[in-house]
Symmetry: C2
Subunit: 492 residues, 2 copies
């Protein structure tokens, strides 16, 4: 009964936030809405608890290793349409089958390191969240990839702070149904969830490493943001459980990630209050009348009313960067506008969508080979997300116990999964402080703050960055990934 | 004894913050540092309390009304060096003697409204804080005046969001010793304080209205920021007490203002924590060990240590806009840089200083007629600030009781006198909510939030604005002043 009440509450709570999604999507364009809207709106299969999330029993996935011969060569991208001259790294794009029987295949885009010797650099897998958002559209094209799309939707400009300056970066569109990834079994789109996402991603990795055998045993890191706060530790967990020696997992990094629903939700509300987006009366009501525990029941009308005010905030400003301008343009421009890597263009979603829906671009990427009956879009809203534990903290602990480096970071002007949430959630681990809270610096400016806990967990803030940290603070994000990969203290 | 302990504590507390001032000043240039550094570092004449601040007995100031004949005409500015063509309003600059015996004279810069009929527009007096900062350098040249200074320090560009599009705006450099204002009695510089600042400002106004008699009886408003949180209500109080019919005081407006030390200080610390600039441990120590009450004694070492961390934040980033870049250039550029009213240039202090220290500019402004033996600087640090009550809330109440419109606003990314402080301080008034907290809009974007309390007090936030609101959000600030002057609800 309690479990049912919880689900009803969460459902209603997120009817508000789903309403948000709808409104905002309508405002920003359905195909391009920037909302990782499902964090609260999950249909939980069962009242999930910390205890259940690390104890999954895994299927035998060995049958899903498929022949990869010759595929690497055919995945090589000779040139992306509109890319600038003088590109000094190799790029690949293509599909990896993760379930031949169902016809599930995941699309990847891979940018080798800019280096005389890419083999000296680690491999980083990047995952965007959602659930349902694209690592190609967001991660590669708006955040940390080597190119960003100009306002004409046709030409690319170089991102000098791309992460492939320090690593070989693999962008995965996951799970099937997201971006160019697909399933030939339509019902797969209706039954996605965390577990299959982790399993498919694991199978992807095993096959991808057969296709790119030089990366077997290479130092390997998983990074991602938002709902990838689930994907990243769940994939790490799957890797650890399967004990695959080819996958040399060294660390995971989660940015503005959903990691513990109760404290994430509480932190969200507190952040909105402390950032002067809701009133004293509203936060008082939330503190008094709402219970964000996964086992909560009997929420009051006062709670619903207060949560309705949170709804209004989501509806009126860009919650993913509470100080950013909105996009009001209806689409791409005939000729490219002046751009600046320092001032993220809030209309970038439109440019990326135009670019990735071009037939020439898809051909160059080796994408959409099955001629999907829908256009590429940045986020897909799955009808059902069948499983999502209320916390991944046990998986983070598991990583720590297995000597996997864990960094959690937060762009501090994101209101969706704000720095307050991440602090509250990590505090649930009750770790001792090893290196106290202190600023780190880039070009003599405070890049943010960091604190290191016993057990090799580092928490980092990125000053002035929204939900998609590298979109808003590209240089600071590059410093972050560099020091994460090196396992070093950020520059003081 | 308690009073003494308080002063010792405040003194030590502000030895930290004074250290800040020194460091930051050294970094940004002594003459141009942007610190309104004295808020905490006040030497109080006596333990001030709410009760004392509204009960001053006023001197008879009528003897300080001096002949003004012919002075208006000679104050008219024909043209400022480097100003753009097509200026459609009149400007004046000059001195008003406020104490003939001591030789104290205050410098003003007056920009009439851009209008076919300036006489239809109200009169707004603008005051910057400090104590010791210039309304000409900050208010007029970096915030709400008609011109801003280009990076060459020689040419001006038009501010399309200047407040003289809606009002006749009078900038006063106050008290004597600030900017071009001076005293021939050197000891005046050592004995400044709130009371004399209010009295001199009142005398200034009386004389200025004799010089500009068309403004007698005109709707009159006082606005100011930072430590002008003291000046504004104190001047309003002085006007109310003197019952001068020429000064038709309709409203006051205070931005990011010091209004109640205890809650301002608590709010500052909480803001730094909620904005992820200090650690959980530090805020816990501050909450546990510090007592910001004006009557507090026996502060602990733990409190001093925690406050030392606050010090470090002030020392490492621009506390006046916690997300803004710093200025690293050593001065003006040979030719003017591209400018944008939307992206405030953090090096503007240098351009303004160069401009205002030019002999031609001073001549055009009718400034520095006595050939001061120091250069114009944006802020002057007085050796002693002899009186400063710990709260001006009783004066705000007095305004409300006398039907003087009161608006308090806050740029929400200022860390110096942050929105948290203003909310805590206003909450001390225990007012009922008349119109609940809601967003206001400019060009379909959230300009901030507002709440109206019974008794005609409005609190407004300005989203994405630092301490000097019109510097960072010029358009939003213009909407703010327009609706304040009209006494209307901000646009929903």
């Amino acid at each position: 009964m309690e479990g049912r009440m919880t689900r009803i509450f969460l459902c209603l709570f997120l009817c508000f936030l789903a309403g948000i999604a709808t409104n905002d999507a309508a405002r920003q364009g359905d195909a391009l809405n920037k909302l990782y809207f499902d964090v609260f709106n999950l249909k939980r299969a069962a009242p999930a608890s910390a205890a259940t999330s690390a104890s999954n029993v895994f299927s035998d996935l060995s049958s899903k290793a498929y022949p990869q011969k010759g595929l690497k060569e055919s995945d090589k991208i000779s040139k992306l349409p509109g890319q600038p001259e003088g590109i000094d790294f190799d790029q690949y794009g293509g599909y990896v089958t993760v379930d031949a029987e169902a016809g599930r295949a995941l699309f990847y885009y891979f940018t080798e390191a800019v280096s005389d010797d890419p083999s000296s650099k680690p491999l980083v897998l990047w995952l965007n969240g959602g659930p349902g958002c694209s690592s190609l559209g967001y991660g590669a094209m708006e955040e940390l990839g080597p190119f960003r799309v100009m306002s004409d939707g046709k030409t690319l400009f170089r991102n000098p702070y791309a992460w492939n300056t320090v690593a070989n970066v693999l962008f995965l569109e996951s799970p099937a149904g997201v971006g160019f990834s697909y399933s030939n079994t339509t019902s797969d789109y209706g039954e996605n969830g965390d577990s299959r996402t982790a399993e498919d991603s694991y199978v992807f990795l095993v096959n991808w490493m057969d296709r790119f055998p030089e990366y077997k045993g290479r130092d390997f890191f998983i990074a991602g943001e938002s709902y990838a706060g689930h994907y990243v530790p769940q994939l790490a967990h799957t890797i650890l459980q399967h004990n695959n020696t080819h996958i040399n997992l060294k660390g995971i990094m989660i940015g503005n990630g959903a990691i513990n629903d109760e404290t994430d939700n509480k932190g969200l509300c507190d952040y909105l209050w402390t950032h002067a987006l809701i009133s004293d009366e509203t936060i008082d009501a939330i503190h008094k009348y709402c219970n964000f525990s996964p086992d909560a029941s009997n929420q009051t009308n006062q709670c619903y009313q207060a949560v309705g005010v949170v709804n209004q905030v989501f509806d009126t400003l860009d919650i993913y960067n509470i100080y950013a301008p909105l996009c009001f343009s209806s689409g791409v421009t005939p000729s490219p506008k002046r751009y600046s890597i320092e001032n993220f263009d809030p209309c970038s979603d439109y440019y990326v969508s135009a670019y990735l829906n071009s037939a020439q671009v898809q051909e160059a990427l080796h994408a959409n080979v099955t001629k999907l009956n829908y256009t590429w879009s940045a986020c897909r809203q799955f009808a059902q997300w069948t499983d999502s534990p209320s916390t991944v903290l046990p998986l983070i602990k598991e990583c720590m116990a297995n000597d996997v480096r864990v960094w959690v970071y937060s762009g501090d002007v994101d209101g969706r999964i704000p720095v307050t949430s991440s602090r509250y959630s990590l505090n649930q681990l009750n770790l001792s402080v090893k290196t106290k809270w202190q600023p780190w610096f880039v070009n003599k400016e405070v890049g943010g703050y960091s604190i290191i806990y016993d057990g090799n967990l580092t928490f980092v803030t990125v000053r002035g960055a929204g939900h998609e940290v590298p979109s808003y603070q590209a240089l600071r994000a590059l410093v972050l990934i560099k020091f994460f990969l090196d396992g070093k203290l950020l520059p003081a």
